[in-house]
């Protein structure tokens, strides 16, 4: 891996309205990339629409949303473009970044305007095609506005970074931009922050789980995370391992579904849902687990375009992992090599693999050691950050 010779200054720009919670997947992702850039010798400035817990070496600017227009969906994002563009121009004049790394979000097109007006290069981070996400996972009120904003942002960017090949194909298919400007950078992990030296005893004590077998999941309870499948797997595991407890570290829209399934299967006493926790404590919670699970599922169209950060965190923590073989997960976790793999949406099979890891310590140890090695050699955030730099360099060479 070639390290760029000049130390760059990168401006992270986060624009969505995410309320008061600095936790969650996007925050974790951004922190990882920032650490990756730092590792490569580059600096970051972070401009955000909400609060963030950042390392001391990152300068932080807050551009809040207007207090008006908070009672109707989607509308508040539109005028935020104008406000954030005006404010960020002042920040650019102070900080003089080499480029903007903007996290693509619905109705936002500020990167395109800044490039047009002021010539600042921008690399767009795309986690999902917003028009697809809203149509499939949410409610969409202003379809054309979203479509136009997204086309502007994606087509005018100097380069795009996506976490998976599947998403790269989706971007080309739906929005129609040039494939060559899309760079695939799977998510990663900070193997210094997540490592097997971290102990989970305090968490076990706090949750009164000292002698229990803990099966853990961390993350947001969204559509593609497969949390309902894991909840349905609980009863099969508990039948074989009565002192097993399922620890869901996170929160989200499917939380009540998990509770309902656990109650119906009469295993709610073996379930703990922590809610969102500060990102800094996540390693301890993973450390407390005996087995960790990433039960992701394909979308209804049969595709899986995500790159689950939790998977790499599990690997770095040297934990025995069960992961479904969907999308990129199927490429990262190789069955019986660095984890146990299984088909999606099958609670019994998922439970079977979990039970195997609980009962066979030698197997669990062998797989988890390899997982840790793989995380260091292949999945550190610095590799992801270097691809972003490559994308920026491509953008510079091919500017229109």
């Amino acid at each position: 891996m070639e390290v760029i010779k000049k130390a760059l200054k990168i401006m992270f720009w986060r624009t969505e309205f995410y309320g008061g919670s600095p936790e969650g997947g996007t925050s974790s992702l951004h922190l990882g990339k920032i650490r990756g850039f730092n590792n490569l010798g580059h600096k970051c400035v972070y401009v955000s629409s909400g609060p963030m817990d950042l390392p001391d070496y990152v300068k932080y600017y807050y551009i809040p949303y207007n207090k008006l227009l908070r009672n109707f969906p989607e509308v508040l994002s539109l005028p935020y473009n104008g406000k954030s563009i005006r404010e960020i121009k002042k920040i650019i004049d102070i900080e003089k970044p080499d480029f903007i790394y903007q996290h693509h979000h619905d109705f936002h097109y500020g990167g395109a305007v800044l490039k047009k007006k002021y010539g600042i290069p921008y690399v767009l981070h795309v986690d999902g095609v917003e028009i697809w996400i809203k149509a499939n996972w949410g409610k969409l009120y202003f379809k054309n506005l979203l479509k136009w904003a997204e086309e502007i942002q994606i087509d005018y960017s100097d380069a795009i970074v996506v976490p998976s090949q599947t998403l790269a194909d989706l971007v080309v298919e739906i929005v129609g931009c040039k494939r060559e400007k899309i760079f695939v950078a799977p998510n990663g992990v900070d193997t210094e922050q997540f490592h097997p030296g971290i102990k989970g005893e305090l968490v076990r004590e706090k949750l009164s789980l000292k002698d229990k077998i803990i099966c853990g999941f961390t993350g947001t309870f969204g559509h593609w995370h497969g949390v309902e499948v894991l909840a349905k797997a609980m009863k099969y595991v508990i039948k074989e391992v009565p002192n097993a407890v399922f620890l869901f570290v996170g929160d989200g829209m499917l939380r009540s579904n998990i509770d309902t399934i656990a109650k119906e299967d009469n295993v709610d006493k073996n379930l703990i849902i922590t809610g969102f926790l500060p990102i800094g404590v996540i390693p301890e919670y993973v450390a407390a687990c005996d087995v960790v699970v990433s039960p992701c599922v394909n979308n209804d169209d049969g595709r899986f375009f995500n790159s689950p950060v939790k998977l790499f965190e599990y690997m770095a923590m040297e934990k025995p992992i069960v992961a479904t073989n969907v999308g990129q997960q199927g490429e990262v976790i190789i069955d019986d090599y660095n984890g146990l793999s299984c088909e999606e949406k099958n609670p019994e099979v998922l439970a079977h693999q979990i039970i195997r890891l609980i009962k066979d310590k030698d197997l669990a140890n062998r797989l988890s050691r390899q997982a840790r090695l793989d995380s260091i050699e292949k999945h550190h955030w610095k590799y992801n950050s270097q691809i972003i730099i490559d994308a920026y360099e491509y953008g510079l060479k091919n500017r229109t």
Binding site: G19, I152, D155
Partner: protein
Amino acid sequence: MNLLLLLNGNSKKILDAHNFDLKEFNIVKIDEKKLASPSHIKSLINSGKYEKVYFGTTILDLQRFHFFMKSYFLLNGVKTGAIIDEKGNSSKYSALRLLLLESPFLFFEAIVSITVVIYFYIKLPILKWKLLKKR
């Protein structure tokens, strides 16, 4: 018994910040998207005989849909309610204030929203043409 409908944040932190006793509360976690479902909220509020009903959030100023949450209080006959956060801030419900002050403000917000949407329906196609025409 009281009801805390937890949108986001930590329920213990929220209740502690307001010197509420955890034992006096039934806590139900709801997704913000469920605020668009009046029947769902109604079923939660009417699921028990609650003296007071609260919506809980991390930071009050960063929580959307205040008006609709308070409307649910009105529509479901809640006498004492508020939106509360982890810092001890609260936006108390009052039927009179909701009808006489907050409703006209919502009407104003609706007019502004419509104007914003119309403005962007004109602006975005022009911007798209300007930016993407030569590519």
